[in-house]
């Protein structure tokens, strides 16, 4: 059953068709479109499990659309890195479940079906981005997920949301063009768009255009990943979007930039045609600056979602620094942090969404003392906070440990210092948050009693918080999965 290869194509077709059909199956209350979206995402998740089982049993495999043999046809490829579809499916499903009570409050009723359409399209874009083996398709899926993300930021219809979305759109469109330009250059150099084929043809091509192609691709993905100094669109967009959308954007969409860099670097390392050490050094420094700067700005935020948004910039810094150091430890740490940060940030954003939904407050001052009336949600957020600081035995510890080891392995202890300094700043602002929840008195005693969030909100948050703990305790599991992929990444083609 697991070896039926069109499953890989169906894996993209089902959420795509499901997204388009959502407004058709919807009723006036939007309840049915929720059920439909949950159904589509559950089917997709089940398929992702089957695909991952297959990659574990047989190793990487591919499917050629329309029967045109690669490199002429469009290839879909599933390898160990593609296992990140699991986290996309999981977070997507939980965010959709969470939206059941959140969406009617945050959106006008006629927008609810379109909200689910856009969310499903966004997830399809990410799944497609991860499994495609074709450079131009990489661009197309980037655009699918970016366009739906711009619209999702604006969907609440508030003035600030639309302005944030426009800012996001302009920067995102420029970065997409940069990616397209890079793809075009690679096509000009190699005459092929299939990534494996491009890798094998890169050796011996002209050096200057090759550097330009990789620089254009990296620049494009840097904007998508919101790396300093190209992060300015992120805080507004992520803080103003509806909370489930923030969770998806912050947990997954910015990671697409990282995965894009990983895939591009896979080609560069694989061909051995280009020396990336200059680019790597730049990335490492930008990553280190992102860590400190994101954490620094987060300390001064009172709006809880704004704080989480700045914390995303800081965490992207960790991942990019790990990529830039390019030692095996740091690459492993960075890859694992892509997964773990997605879990942690989704816990935090969905938890924050539950608080905002129940209280109508989004500042730390307004949420003071909330731990007494919403104990489960705040407990989950606290677990998320501990994880993101990186205190063992939670999920955040392992990745940061590996990235720090990688910095030492690469002989650059200064970056390990930046990492620890960033972690300290992060510690400060999450302590502020936990302190506000548990140890400060509620602002006005006369306010109506706040109740714990409904089950469709609480269950996703609790599942994610539990996963933060489990991923910390079973840390070897993702490591054993990612290590062979990283080793292959660092080995030139034909070398092993």
């Amino acid at each position: 059953m697991t070896s039926w290869s069109p499953l890989l194509a169906l894996f993209l077709v089902i959420p795509l068709v499901g997204a388009v059909l959502t407004p058709v199956v919807s009723d006036s209350s939007g309840r049915r479109s929720w059920g439909w979206a949950v159904f589509i995402m559950s089917v997709t998740s089940a398929m992702s499990v089957s695909l991952i089982v297959r990659v574990l049993e047989e190793g990487p495999f591919s499917y050629v659309i329309g029967g045109w043999v690669a490199p002429y046809g469009i290839e879909l490829r599933f390898d160990e890195f593609s296992a990140s579809v699991a986290i996309v499916c999981l977070l997507g499903l939980l965010a959709i479940v969470f939206s059941r009570h959140y969406a009617p409050q945050a959106l006008t009723p006629e927008r609810i079906p379109y909200y689910y359409t856009l969310l499903l399209l966004n997830l399809t874009g990410m799944l497609g981005f991860i499994v495609t083996g074709d450079l131009f398709n990489l661009y197309v899926f980037t655009e699918i997920l970016s366009l739906s993300a711009y619209a999702l930021v604006a969907i609440s219809g508030e003035k600030t949301a639309e302005m944030a979305a426009f800012k996001y759109l302009v920067m995102g469109a420029v970065s997409s063009l940069s990616i397209l330009f890079g793809v075009g250059l690679l096509y000009a150099l190699t005459g092929s768009l299939n990534m494996a084929d491009v890798t094998s043809r890169l050796a011996g091509t002209a050096h200057a255009p090759l550097v330009m192609a990789f620089a254009a691709l990296t620049l494009g993905f840097m904007v998508k990943a919101a790396l300093f100094p190209l992060h300015i669109w992120l805080p507004d967009a992520h803080a103003i979007a509806p909370s489930p959308v923030s969770a998806v954007l912050s947990g997954l969409v910015v990671k697409i930039g990282i995965l894009g860099m990983l895939r591009v670097y896979q080609m560069a390392y694989g061909s051995g045609a280009i020396d990336l050490s200059g680019l790597n050094l730049t990335l490492t420094w930008l990553g280190a600056i992102s860590i400190v700067m994101g954490a620094f700005f987060a300390v001064f935020q009172d709006d809880i979602k704004m704080m989480l948004a700045y914390s995303t910039i800081s965490n992207i810094g960790y991942i990019v620094m790990g990529l830039g150091l390019a030692s095996s430890y740091s690459l492993i740490g960075a890859s694992v942090h892509v997964f773990n940060h997605a879990l942690i940030k989704a816990t935090l954003f969905l938890g924050a969404g539950a608080l905002i939904h129940q209280t109508g407050q989004r500042t730390l001052t307004g949420l003071a003392g909330i731990g007494r009336s919403m104990p489960f949600t705040t407990a989950a957020i606290s677990i998320g906070a501990i994880s993101i600081v990186g205190i063992p035995p939670t999920a955040g510890f392992l990745c940061k440990w590996y990235i720090a080891l990688g910095a030492l392995e690469a002989g650059e202890p200064i970056f390990a210092v930046a990492l620890v300094f960033g972690a300290l700043l992060i510690f400060i602002y999450y302590i502020r948050m936990v302190n506000a929840f548990y140890f400060r008195k509620p602002q006005d005693a006369g306010a109506p009693a706040v109740h714990e969030a409904p089950l469709t909100m609480l269950v996703p948050v609790l599942i994610l918080a539990a996963l933060c703990l489990i991923m910390g305790i079973l840390g070897r599991l993702p490591l054993s999965f990612i290590e062979p992929a990283v080793t292959r990444l660092l080995t030139p083609l034909g070398g092993g």
Partner: protein, 117 residues
């Protein structure tokens, strides 16, 4: 240097067009003008990729009477057709956002919007 530039005039033109677009995106205050700059950048990249497929004295790659090699590479044109579709949808989304911003704030100048915020 000059000769190399002359031989690759099409590439040089798209680079110049790209820079004009980027300049407009960064410096213009009006949101629509910003977006027009973006459209110029899009055109530049599209022109660059279509120019990749050109073969000197090439024929349109259509089979039939009188078709003779060499042919122009049709793949970049097919790619850019998709690219244009993407660009159109980006433009549509951006313009609808601009309309909504104008309705709510009464202005589409970036500096006035920043003051209103």
């Amino acid at each position: 240097m000059i000769e190399a530039l002359w031989n690759n005039l099409d590439y040089a033109a798209s680079v110049i067009l790209f820079c004009i677009g980027l300049y407009a995106v960064i410096t213009r205050n009006n949101l629509i003008k910003k977006f027009m700059g973006l459209n110029i950048m899009e055109t530049a990249v599209f022109a660059f990729i279509v120019a990749l497929g050109v073969v000197e004295n090439g024929d349109a790659p259509i089979m039939g009477d009188g078709a003779s090699a060499p042919f122009i590479n049709p793949l970049p044109q097919a790619l850019i057709l998709t690219g244009i579709v993407v660009a159109v949808s980006t433009t549509a989304l951006a313009l609808s956002l601009v309309i909504r911003i104008w309705r709510q704030c009464g202005t589409i100048e970036a500096d006035e919007l920043r003051e209103a915020e």
